[in-house]
Symmetry: C2
Subunit: 415 residues, 2 copies
Amino acid sequence: MKPFFEVQTLEAVWQRARDTRPLASETVDLAAAADRTLAHDFAAPHDLPGFVRSTMDGFAVRARDTFGATESQAGYLKLQGEVIMGRVPDFSLDAGSCARIGTGGMLPDGADAVIMVEHTREASRDTIEVSRSVAPGSHVIGAADDAEAGQVLLAAGQRLRPQDVGLLAALGVEEPQVFRKPRAGIISTGDEVVPVDTEPGPGEVRDVNATVLGAQVRSAGGQPMTMGLVPDDEDRLRQTVAKSLEENDLTLLSGGSSMGVRDLTAEIFLSFPGAELLVHGVSVAPGKPFIWVRVGHHHLLGLPGQVTSCLVTFHLFVEPLLERLLGREGTAFTRFGRLDATLTRNIASAAGRELFQRVRVEQTGAGWQAEPVHGRSGLLRSLVQGHGLVRVPLGSEGLDEGSKIEVLLFPGESS
Amino acid sequence: MKPFFEVQTLEAVWQRARDTRPLASETVDLAAAADRTLAHDFAAPHDLPGFVRSTMDGFAVRARDTFGATESQAGYLKLQGEVIMGRVPDFSLDAGSCARIGTGGMLPDGADAVIMVEHTREASRDTIEVSRSVAPGSHVIGAADDAEAGQVLLAAGQRLRPQDVGLLAALGVEEPQVFRKPRAGIISTGDEVVPVDTEPGPGEVRDVNATVLGAQVRSAGGQPMTMGLVPDDEDRLRQTVAKSLEENDLTLLSGGSSMGVRDLTAEIFLSFPGAELLVHGVSVAPGKPFIWVRVGHHHLLGLPGQVTSCLVTFHLFVEPLLERLLGREGTAFTRFGRLDATLTRNIASAAGRELFQRVRVEQTGAGWQAEPVHGRSGLLRSLVQGHGLVRVPLGSEGLDEGSKIEVLLFPGESS
């Protein structure tokens, strides 16, 4: 069976990613929750901090007792006691009195403000001199100032940063519910390809794509599963895809570079019961030969064999799908930094397709400069030397030297 | 012993980070090498790809045999054979002949170019019609085009991206040498603080800082080691610090919020033999009370107890040190994205210190807007709601509404 071949736009493929249903959720230890994606809206189970706390070292007071106090006309308060950290004060503050309190201490009943230790002086063993007035609420956090019981604090689909994990900790969530990591089976093909630990003979090369894709999957939040290196043999390829279909959520097959294998990929993908061809060819370079077949909830993805094309195609198509499976929006390039720069040379493109051109960036007196990195797509060097991508939109015939452009910085690129 | 107290500038502290010696190196499996830092310059052990390869499906030719061929005046070549993928061709190409070859195939002796299959036609079983001329070197990768033996491809101190790991794979490096992950002992203090899994009573709060710092250490490339929650007790604090000194490369003690503990921290740090006070106070907000004591190769770091100050202080001071221990330059904010934005409200600062103001960003018709997020530093909310930081330099009294500013986007912030 010969699959139909209708080239789609990048936008149409991205829409398919957005239309995909996220995976199920699971619980994780809080210590492993950073960078995972929350599976449900999170509402505060109780007020936070839950009691009125001091934000300074000083004295808990009734604010009105300090009114009028100045450097030249100090006020005096009776030292009624001390707040023990972590305990409920065993007294109520009397009018005209104060209590020693540390940062984080609980205000006694009757107190409504804290005066900083810097604005006081011990006049005697039980008298505190106050040289400033404070307003009610000064230097205190109210019982529900950080969160009110029931208030939604974090939204489903949010990637948890350290501070978000901190908020969960503060509210006693020991095992948050997050989306499961997508398991991505990685298959390399090619009769000329040998495993990394094998010395290649003349005419052979090591399996680079499996290594690169594995690192990309992991850094995008998925779990790479090595399915092996398969020679260009239809039956063995089909068997390996079938195994990955069974064990994983998606399969990445980086097309053997030899003739025939690329055509074969779509045929093998479509040979599984219920297979549905979503994408076969995209108007973008690199990434044109991308294939996407859905079988039930599994996604079979065919990527170019050339390593540079394979890496960029991952960012263009696989990563939005991973994002979506992880319960996020399914947008491309969310993990790329952005940098405004000036183009140092023309980039030629062809109408009717988008181009993602690799560039190096360099900071000069005249700001950031972006230099196109050319080099055949089989060369790793152009990727290793590149810092990011410049997008040349559909319908444009290229970008002129001197243009102001936005560089999409590869994930992991330091600034 | 009362430590001296001379407030230093941010730049002076950063210089100390840069002056620190990196940790030792270790080997890791290639599959775990992404995001680690290379410990030595890496030179190609052999040429890459090591043989002349085709970058297209088509026919290997002697370029001069195609000269003059056009659509209207086709040339004809004898089909001499086929290149088997992964094998050395068992023939030399004769003049006036061609050989079928797939992408990645090895050119036979005599051939110096490839003509794409699209520009050919099978005129007969053993004759190929050629409708275009190709120059020598067309559609081929030379034996050393990706790398020449001995050429330095990756530099020591470089964080490995997926493509860099791919280059190592291509050259057969199964276990690259990378800098060891710094082990960071994390100690929380405070009589009012209870573990996350404990229901806090009135006056108590859960231990947020240990969770946040653990996630920050991990995401910055270190290994967090939980040393426990210690009450405000000098002996127990000293014992826990001593244990961390023995087991880890650095210790993060987020200061108990109660009075006295902050002064105690420096004293305990300085009580160890050979202790050297590097920093005690920095002209920056937040982060002013930061303490850095070196004991041999170990770093004892005292951080503010307030969670928002603690998190920002980590980025300001701990992360550059981690970067440096990992063999990198020791620069702050390398993992932060940058965003140009317009300030929506004034930010007031005080002369004589730098300010890092938390902001929210929002995209509007007039570009990105940055809104200062105020809120007492004990509140998690202002961090959870914030997207990044704006730096107000030393000597400035603030930034005006409408100013064009650069926002440092928190790591993990999606764009």
